[in-house]
Symmetry: C2
Subunit: 466 residues, 2 copies
Amino acid sequence: MSSVLDQGKDLSSLFEPESVAVIGASTNTEKIGHKILKNIIEAGYKGKIYPVNPRGGKILGLKTYTSILDIPGELETVVIVIPARFVPSVIEECVKKGVKGAIIISSGFRDVGLEGANLERKVIDIAKRGGLRIIGPNCQGLSNPMNGFCATWPIIKEVGNVAVISQSGTMALEVPTFLAGNNLGYSKSVSLGNKADVDEADLISWLAEDDSTQVISIFTEGMGDGRKLMKAVKKASNQKPVLILKGGKSEEGKRAVFAHTGSLAGDNNVFEAAMKQSGGLCLDGLEELCSVSKAFSSLPIPKGNKLLVISSSGGAGILSADSCEGVGLVLSSLSEHTLEKLRNGLPEYCIIGNPLDLTGNALSNPEMYGLALEIVLEDSSVDMILVIFGDPIPNSFNLLEKQVEKAKKLGVPIAVNYLGAANVQEKEIKNLQKNGVPVFPTPNRAIKALSYMYRYGVSKMFKDGV
Amino acid sequence: MSSVLDQGKDLSSLFEPESVAVIGASTNTEKIGHKILKNIIEAGYKGKIYPVNPRGGKILGLKTYTSILDIPGELETVVIVIPARFVPSVIEECVKKGVKGAIIISSGFRDVGLEGANLERKVIDIAKRGGLRIIGPNCQGLSNPMNGFCATWPIIKEVGNVAVISQSGTMALEVPTFLAGNNLGYSKSVSLGNKADVDEADLISWLAEDDSTQVISIFTEGMGDGRKLMKAVKKASNQKPVLILKGGKSEEGKRAVFAHTGSLAGDNNVFEAAMKQSGGLCLDGLEELCSVSKAFSSLPIPKGNKLLVISSSGGAGILSADSCEGVGLVLSSLSEHTLEKLRNGLPEYCIIGNPLDLTGNALSNPEMYGLALEIVLEDSSVDMILVIFGDPIPNSFNLLEKQVEKAKKLGVPIAVNYLGAANVQEKEIKNLQKNGVPVFPTPNRAIKALSYMYRYGVSKMFKDGV
């Protein structure tokens, strides 16, 4: 099903409404109609909130309307949580009331077969007449943490620069959950479900121009209108990275996609080729979607593919070297001048090279990290850096602080691993991340993320004609 | 360098000594000679502890000897933390004293070139004459949490059934750090460094017969005596899984291996073929070493490759289906009888199939998890189960408890994902794991781990001649 209005059309009513009605609001705390109303209130939304329920009365202290037509004044957006069969008439009322956006949580449409698909088409036809944009149906809603408009569950309040678009509700919430757990946050999160109207392409186009969004992360189960999607990804990726995880790559996965939202997963090779041509980055699994989002969210885009590894662990240095292979990164060849400065500046037990091995002696002489960073940051053959703490070294952030600042100015991303340090580890990782230094669980995970950043930088450079 | 004594020789003096001397013990809290002494004391070691330092006096309240020859009575094991050049004469004294094991932390041997290699050979020649077994040199020691013998740093006290053998000190501690963070633990951890005497093969043979060890997890940088290693892996993998992560797979990695411990990484294809033939499982990266160790440590070996997925998230179900491809697992085809029972037992909104999609309605009807598990556990086409919570569902362990018990008896592993649930997630995961249910960060990670368990089960079945 194609989009009701022109691609790129303003979707701000869905994310930044001045008023919202929850149709199907409930006093029963177990019901989604209760949870969503509660979350909109608790997340700190400042617009007008109108519960709607045929029984009237009060829900969560708010006057409840029996119909949206009774709501005084304008109504910008509705969240719908009522059985599918009642949705068409409610959408009729929305059109009458001049509502601009509807988030339909209810399932029982295309997801349940032909009869549901007809119901869905009916809803879209009515909406089209009124210029009403629809998210869903059969979705988990959306959240804008910047204004507390949490029309989903659970609440995640952490604000950041990653927008998440997902057909699946769980993925729409998992990426923000991951980012929040890593001292980062998100700018928007939306689950699309059956995407009967608004689809990935519409959102990508709109988010391309959303200043609060610097990274667009997507989980999709099917490509829909391929040309429209390519156009949107091309437009957005000129300005910010578009990361895409596609479900339904395998035969078993395709069957599961159809059972989930009635979508056709399509051929994955075609999909990946189309995305690559448009400048999108296709990712390999949920962990990658999360960790690559994290890297783009917190680090500058590297200028080249040359990695310098500083480690107190020889073993982790080896795994880092291995991880470069096949992902397009190489270890920097430091200049003779840099090597000389490292030899003069660092104790004899250090193994000068790349990986630069500070050895386990870093435990008693951790200042070497700052010194080594200072020297290598002056070498133009260093495009990106992985710093590995392989021992329980305290105050790790303070050791890096000055050089991290400098690297930021130079546009050199610094990723960190913190390994083998028992209970010191969790505390140090938390503190590093609290201070804006992203820590990855293994060398491989960090280097993979850096490699996507490099690939984005290259594709952007070509587009920019540099 | 080959082993001093016969392969499979008893190494218990190294892990379970009745007395230990720390040669190079120090009052300087920054020094490794201090940290190790402190850790042996603090980890609760009950044997006799003798600090050795030419200055004598007291260190950490213990009488300090100027030479091990002055120590009264027998001395079983020493930890050596003195400059390399003094090590040969100390080893002479150890032989004189009848010491059985030496853990040489000091670096400056083969790791620094030819001169160091000669020194290393000298040390080994002396040890050989006295029947003294050596761990190291250039290593981070070892730990046995079962008796508090923590001759390394940092202390990790969590006891479990995974033994870790690693050339790298950081990896030797990272796997236990990971396990401890997942409510599991380890039985032994040893870092080998230059492995001038005791090597992976010796340890694998010895650990094959260690009842407290049910999983052997290895990080190695080079194969050494290939035939000896194959023999050891073959012997051990008859009884317990042997998991191997090899560093130095790439050209850059090989260079880094040589810089680290002077080892030759060798050809990785040859290595993997040899390990496969011996029944070892070669893993792809540190995250896999950790998560596969976790799976084997906490779940029964599946009887076949047929996976059943129960999920409240359609999207996560799709990723699960995709993850089976290429790792040798398939989704179970449930019997018509089972499907009928699911249709009758579960609400209409559930999508009966595999993945079995309980839909987001599981949030208000979470008891469906237990019911669904009860039904599918009776289907013989289910060899393993992945349970996915894709919503903030509370008391998740209690929902599974009864069926988890039953599955354990049936020998059906149940892995769990908990996704998209904001701050509920961490608490629920902790509680599940506290109760022995392993939770993996993504469907892919869980399914990959289960696939290794299946592969181990198959190879063991063939060996056992079933």
